[in-house]
Symmetry: C2
């Protein structure tokens, strides 16, 4: 395009909902960390070694031989019936009640489920509560539909449901409460069963809808996580994903929603992308239906990530001592480091540390990037940092921490 054209495309042309949209901090950051020598704890990628290329090659070959062109053809908006049945079985096992294939809508990654839910549920000004810090993709999906976002702080057990209860009795009336209760992104927190019950009871009492984003459920290290919040209330919509299990690049996730909401979701999905790729749905079904092989694959992935989580957290504790607070993750891909401030401690500001860290070729994401209110973030969020242990082997994680310690020295 001729550069003269760009002058015509001024902001007034853009819809109100995107006019103030800021460029993604994480996108900008990831661009920086793409340099070769950088050890990045900033991403949220599974290790390529954990993605089963050979297995999926076998599946693709067999699928295209046996099924032929039908897997390249248009298919239904709801999703492939075989894949929906498989997901329904998983969800039934997790939730402890029967979930039927009809309850499942296949989406183009669980990110699309967030977009569809926002599209179908959020009017401008509606109150949406999330944890603070929150998954940035959820904040972005919601933002486009102009809700009033309210962040509730977290501790190691996830969303401070006591603070939510306080806000509710103070008059807060959310339409939706969004959270990742299991091995959260970004905080790594894990909400115990008792707190899940308290949250479910609040949903029933105040009539809000819980969006339970459970993309990391299968990545536990030792013990399976507690039953989903959906097992405790009917006011819960569940979001799931194959991204952390078999491959994010296939872009297949799902949403489990009650009938009245599901019909609206299906119609919104039809208008959004007609349906998710027939081929990638059938490919994932072909792999995931082999339960023993999937269990073996997940078992290997869990061991690999558990080792890495240990390596990173031990190195951080050894390197930073009482200057940080850090819980050991029980699953997922992230740990959350809080830089302490107090008598005798030169409190480290995560964004200042990132600047010196990048010079030492190591990267992470300062907590402020995940704040619900980026202008005046919660102190607990602003003093934190997300570090991903999933992408690098233990020796690189230890090297990364050595560089971080040097970078913190550069701050003085």
């Amino acid at each position: 395009m001729a550069s003269s054209a760009s002058a015509q495309w001024q902001d007034p042309l853009l819809a109100r909902r995107v006019r103030g949209m800021e460029s993604s901090v994480i996108r900008d950051l990831l661009a920086l960390t793409a340099r070769p020598n950088v050890i990045s704890l900033a991403g949220g990628l599974p290790d390529a070694a954990a993605l089963p290329a050979a297995w999926l090659r076998e599946c693709a070959d067999q699928l295209l031989r046996q099924e032929g062109p039908v897997v390249l053809q248009y298919s239904t908006t709801e999703g492939d019936p075989l894949l929906r049945a498989l997901i329904a079985q998983w969800e039934s096992d997790w939730c402890g009640h029967h979930v039927s294939a009809d309850d499942v809508l296949v989406t183009s990654g669980s990110q699309q489920a967030l977009d569809l839910l926002a599209k179908v549920l959020v009017d401008p000004g509606d109150v949406v509560v999330t944890t603070d810090p929150a998954y940035l993709g959820a904040l972005q999906a919601m933002h486009l539909f102009e809700p009033k976002l309210v962040g509730i702080g977290e501790d190691v057990d996830g969303m401070r449901v006591d603070l939510l209860a306080e806000a509710l009795s103070g008059g807060l009336r959310p339409k939706l409460v969004y959270l990742t209760p299991t091995f959260a992104n970004p905080s790594g927190s894990m909400m115990p069963f008792g707190r899940r019950k308290e949250l479910a009871a609040l949903a029933d009492q105040y009539g809000f809808v819980i969006l339970e984003d459970d993309a990391y459920r299968q990545l536990y290290f030792t013990d399976p996580p507690p039953a989903p919040i959906a097992s405790l209330s009917e006011r819960v919509v569940r979001l799931g994903s194959f991204s952390k299990v078999l491959g994010p690049g296939l872009r297949v996730g799902w949403v489990v929603a009650p009938p009245a909401l599901r019909d609206a979701l299906i119609r919104a999905k039809q208008a959004t992308d007609l349906h998710t790729s027939t081929f990638t749905q059938r490919l994932l079904h072909a792999a995931a239906k082999d339960a023993p092989r999937l269990a073996e694959h997940l078992g290997r992935t869990r061991v690999m990530y558990a080792e890495r989580a240990t390596a990173l957290t031990e190195a951080l504790r050894a390197g930073f001592g009482d200057r940080i607070e850090l819980a050991t993750p029980q699953g997922g891909m992230f740990c959350w480091v809080t830089f302490r401030d107090g008598p005798g401690l030169a409190g480290i500001r995560p964004d200042a540390l990132l600047a010196t860290a990048l010079k030492r070729n190591v990267a992470f994401v300062p907590g402020g990037a995940f704040a619900v209110d980026r202008i005046s973030p919660l102190a607990s969020t602003a003093r934190g940092a997300r570090m991903c242990f999933a992408t690098s082997p233990p020796e690189l994680l230890r090297e990364a921490v050595e560089r971080l310690v040097l970078a913190s020295g550069d701050l003085r």
Copy 2:
């Protein structure tokens, strides 16, 4: 889910934009036509025989062997660089000016391009002009962002640009004008170069943006279509798709947009589904980069569809004589039948005909389904019918018309 739950999910929970959303006529119709003995001219599917399963199997095998897990990994929101470069080359050839890979955003089918464009450009109440009849998916994508839709009638040369010019001088001020100028869905019309120039000139004069949906461009029967409208004005956004070329079930399309708009589109896409499947993008690139094989494949598809278009239109003319008007399609997948009304003719109402046709096991879509205003549709749209010749071989198309003739007899 327990059925008691559904009572909780009443309309007030849904966002305003979806509360009045009607169920899709075509979805309901396609459900009817899924019965075995029905010959369906109602769908918009490529023939499965035209989808190159064996070729894509080779590509998938080679891709996963050579590239391994990287094609299963997260990738950039903009799309795969190799695929963007290939699309940019195609667009440069068609438009006659340089289109760079940076100008291209890969989308999850061109349906997603429509969703993103509506998201980024349409404020409630903005005027959006489309042809009438229009591609239903475009109407659905737009509807969710609450524009004022204005339909402009068509003739065999596509949108009546003279009528648009009249409306503009009468004060109409659209933000967007959407059309499929080449082998339109649903009307099959093809806008000649002269009319494209008139439309481009209006865009420059009145400052609206043209959304040029060109998904059928490569399906011409004898002569390649005229240059895109984008070759005539800088105020044009182009939409393309691999669906009609290599396989709709892969869900890969694209949008070519000027820089200022593209940045907003990329951010909206990130919030909508992060990115389109890495694997299906690389798979399509692996196939489409083999230009001679693609040309051979497209050549076969064109011959197949041309034969079918001839078979259907000849049978319709023989069976219905002067009771219909019908232009011979020059490409694409659809023809548009207008049932004439006048002295000595018992005018056939398409929706009445559909009812008797279904009893005779043949289906098509009455024009009213594609009307911009479904309550009081344009007469030219309401008297029409879309018939798809792409899915069935000539002998079945002739059988379908015999049944339609009998069904029209049942109306008396």
